[in-house]
């Protein structure tokens, strides 16, 4: 196994360790070695150069640790499946690192590092990786069918890697939404071995199939055997949200962040749920954590700043004088950050303006506040981009006494952000419709859709999207309407620097609606094009779309 052609990145804050690792790698024959001293630099380096081997210390001072860097680069696709990531840990932190089930490094090297240990471990890790090179190449090519085939071949030819091949296969199937197939693999593994990743995988399958009680039992038993498996807490919280038990969800996530305080997405999720529960202290704390942790990372999002602003409003009204002053300063800073860092994100800008008005109102400057809110409405139209923004708009208008007479219907708080969009798309079930009614509706929808196309062609994408969404909310909406909706959404998403998870979830749902219908060749082509755009936006893994439904099933 040669090191000569490997592009190597060393992530190590300790100068002496860095030098000694570098010297060792050179002795192994590596010629192309870069080093960085922290996670931020590592991510920048990985953006520029596709490394074959990354060696990272787990403990890296105050910034991200090696596990977090791994999670970020795998999550955002900065490192291909074929590239090797090795974590160097002290024996006593091993246990800490071992908790992560989802993003595991290709191998560990435990300190103290000596030439012999590093050499033999690295050779072993690279050899092992080499065995999986066909599978990983197919994954990197996004050729799921081939990757699955390669997994099967591995099981046949190299029985000692069978369990690991099953693990990859089940995950691929899950991401391709073939939940039954994924579930049966996980079950098969769980029956013969007690393996945490398989149990968690099985719980995920049960969750998407809405078998919540079985999933909860499984997750709780997993946590009982190892309370460090924080990913189990995440899934449990999701399930509680789906079951409209946001208080339980919050409790679970509070436990999770206590065990693993450095995960941005978890802090952010906790903040959102605490806000929903009106638990402002917890929300503010989580928002602050998420902001600090996400600086200079792919998770930097306006959401956390807005969350902080919302959670501090209460203190503006009921807090001590000191609270009021401090909160006002903090709110101002957060809003400024949203304006400065996310100018493209219209929903965030609208929310920031609304929050600014609300803040003034809560500080007793009602008139000024109302004026800003009206300005915001004028500036961004009454175009509502996502459910969260829409809800905040209604709340703000209500709070400052500007309730929109057109929207007298009070919106019920949706218990879960992820299902809110589902609710707007669902059918109105007020008894069976007569054929005439259906026909009238169809014509109406057609008109709305046509109006949308007009606006879209004039470049008024946001307004167009609103019309398309209205048209698509009909369950009998034509395929072209759904395609239009998706196209408008994707155009807007492409303009943003940070795409919100909910926007992916929305698109994902529309794609699923398309996949459930028979479509002609032209629509299929259009759908495929849109899927390419969607995938290029880097959706999170659980929202990946199957390549396409007709040459995937064999």
């Amino acid at each position: 196994m040669g090191f000569e052609h490997l592009r190597v990145l060393i992530i190590e804050d300790h100068a002496e360790m860095r030098a000694s690792l570098r010297a060792m790698l050179m002795r192994f024959g590596a010629q192309n070695i870069d080093n960085v001293i922290c996670g931020e630099d590592a991510i920048e380096a990985l953006k520029i150069k596709p490394y074959d081997l990354v060696l990272s210390d787990y403990e890296l001072g105050r910034g991200k640790d090696g596990q977090q860097i791994l999670e970020e680069v795998r999550y955002s696709g900065l490192m291909s499946a074929s590239a090797t990531y090795v974590l160097i840990t002290a024996a006593q932190t091993m246990e800490m690192v071992m908790g992560a089930l989802e993003y595991q490094p290709d191998g560990y090297i435990t300190k103290p590092i000596t030439y012999d240990v590093v050499h033999s471990r690295l050779i072993k890790i690279l050899k092992h990786k080499y065995h999986f090179s066909e599978i990983n190449a197919a994954i990197d090519d996004k050729n799921v069918a081939l990757a699955l085939q390669e997994c099967d071949r591995m099981v046949m030819r190299q029985p000692k890697f069978a369990t690991q091949a099953f693990r990859i296969k089940a995950k691929l199937l899950f991401n391709a939404q073939q939940y039954d197939a994924a579930e049966s693999i996980y079950r098969q593994v769980v029956d013969s071995h007690t393996l945490a990743w398989a149990q968690l995988g099985l719980a995920r399958c049960l969750y998407v199939k809405k078998n919540y009680s079985a999933a909860i039992v499984l997750l709780q038993s997993l946590i009982a055997t190892n309370d460090k498996y924080v990913e189990c807490y995440d899934l449990l919280a999701q399930i509680y949200l789906e079951q409209e038990q946001p208080l339980q969800a919050q409790t679970i996530l509070e436990q999770a962040v206590e065990k693993s305080p450095k995960a941005v997405l978890r802090q952010s999720e906790l903040g959102g749920i605490a806000l929903l529960n009106q638990n402002m202290d917890v929300a503010a704390k989580a928002a602050r954590k998420a902001i600090t942790l996400s600086k200079n990372s792919c998770h930097h999002s306006p959401k956390n700043y807005l969350m902080l602003v919302k959670s501090l409003q209460n203190l503006l009204i009921n807090g001590s004088q000191r609270d009021k002053t401090l909160s006002a300063t903090e709110i101002q800073g957060a809003l400024k950050e949203v304006q400065k860092s996310f100018p493209q994100d219209q929903a965030a800008q609208l929310q920031a303006k609304l929050a600014e008005g609300l803040t003034l109102h809560n500080q007793g400057k009602s008139e000024k506040g109302q004026k800003i809110i009206q300005e915001a409405q004028a500036l961004y139209g009454d175009v509502v981009i996502d459910a969260d923004t829409q809800q905040f708009l209604q709340e703000t208008l209500g709070a400052v006494g500007l309730a929109n007479p057109l929207n007298t219907q009070p919106k019920t708080r949706s218990p879960s952000k992820s299902t809110s969009s589902e609710k707007t798309v669902s059918t109105k079930t007020e008894g069976p419709k007569t054929p005439q009614q259906i026909e009238i509706e169809r014509v109406e929808m057609e008109n709305i859709n046509n109006k949308g196309v007009e606006l879209f062609q004039q470049g008024q994408v946001l307004q167009a999207l609103k019309l398309f969404e209205t048209a698509a909310s009909n369950n009998n909406a034509k395929i072209s309407v759904i395609l239009n909706t998706l196209q408008a959404m994707l155009v807007l998403m492409q303009q943003q620097t940070n795409v919100d998870l909910r926007e992916f979830e929305n698109c994902y749902k529309y794609f699923n609606r398309l996949n459930a219908q028979q479509s002609d060749a032209t629509s299929r082509k259009r759908q495929e094009k849109l899927q390419v755009i969607y995938s290029a936006l880097n959706p999170p893994e659980h929202l990946f779309i199957k390549a396409s439904n007709h040459h995937d099933n064999h």
Binding site: A90, E95, P112, P159, K160, T163, H193, T194, L195, D227
Partner: protein, 220 residues
């Protein structure tokens, strides 16, 4: 969560132990480097006692840490382990010992690598203490269990060990300077390895292929 003073004391002790263990670890490396510098043979009579004492120190510190951890309950991190690789790692950890390994290259099993490694390290240490000079590690699957045998060419286990239960630490052992700590913890670790209704366990006998003692681990 509240932290009592006792918890804090325990934490401080644990972190001091960690430090001490690291020191011992480094000491071993420094000794190696020193030996290399002076071109000493690995069986140099002046070198070996230092190395042995250092190994033993490291071993004892590891044991105490294990005991501390077991007090908090074992958190198993089970993984799919390829036995051939696992044994190779163990050989690498004990470069100065005649340690032979036998296993089917395709044999895999699911267990907590770190904890089982600990049991085997302890077994090796005890064998060396009993003047064994050669060991064999052997793994095979028998029925639903993975069996790992650790054979040595020492004097074998004393008669009372063969029938004894290691479910509890006994104070009488302490007086004899044989703590039984290693086997007690081995027992705990093996039992923590449970799959469905089967638990792990171990057996001691003197039917070693090398004429000494044999420790067999049974993992479900």
């Amino acid at each position: 969560m509240t932290t009592t003073n006792n918890d804090l004391h325990a934490l401080f002790i644990a972190s001091c132990l960690h430090e001490a263990k690291n020191n011992a670890n480094h000491l071993l490396i420094h000794i190696d480097q020193l030996a290399e510098h002076f071109a000493l043979a690995s069986d140099d009579p002046k070198l070996q006692p230092i190395q042995n004492d250092c190994q033993n120190l490291l071993h004892h510190l590891t044991q105490i840490l294990q005991l501390y951890k077991s007090n908090q309950g074992y958190r198993l991190h089970r993984e799919d382990v390829i036995l051939e690789d696992f044994f190779e790692d163990i050989q690498l950890r004990h470069p100065h010992i005649a340690l032979h390994v036998q296993t089917d290259p395709d044999l895999t099993a699911v267990f907590d690598e770190q904890l089982i490694l600990n049991i085997i390290d302890t077994a090796i240490y005890n064998s060396l203490q009993a003047d064994a000079t050669e060991l064999v590690l052997q793994a095979s699957r028998v029925d639903d269990y993975l069996q790992i045998c650790i054979d040595d060419n020492g004097p074998g286990f004393p008669e009372d060990f063969l029938t004894k239960s290691f479910n509890q630490l006994s104070p009488s052992n302490l007086a004899e300077h044989k703590t039984g700590l290693g086997l007690y913890m081995a027992q705990q670790i093996m039992q923590a390895h449970q799959h469905q209704d089967r638990r792990g366990y171990f057996q001691l006998n003197n039917q070693s292929s090398l004429g000494g003692g044999r420790l067999t681990l049974f993992l479900p």
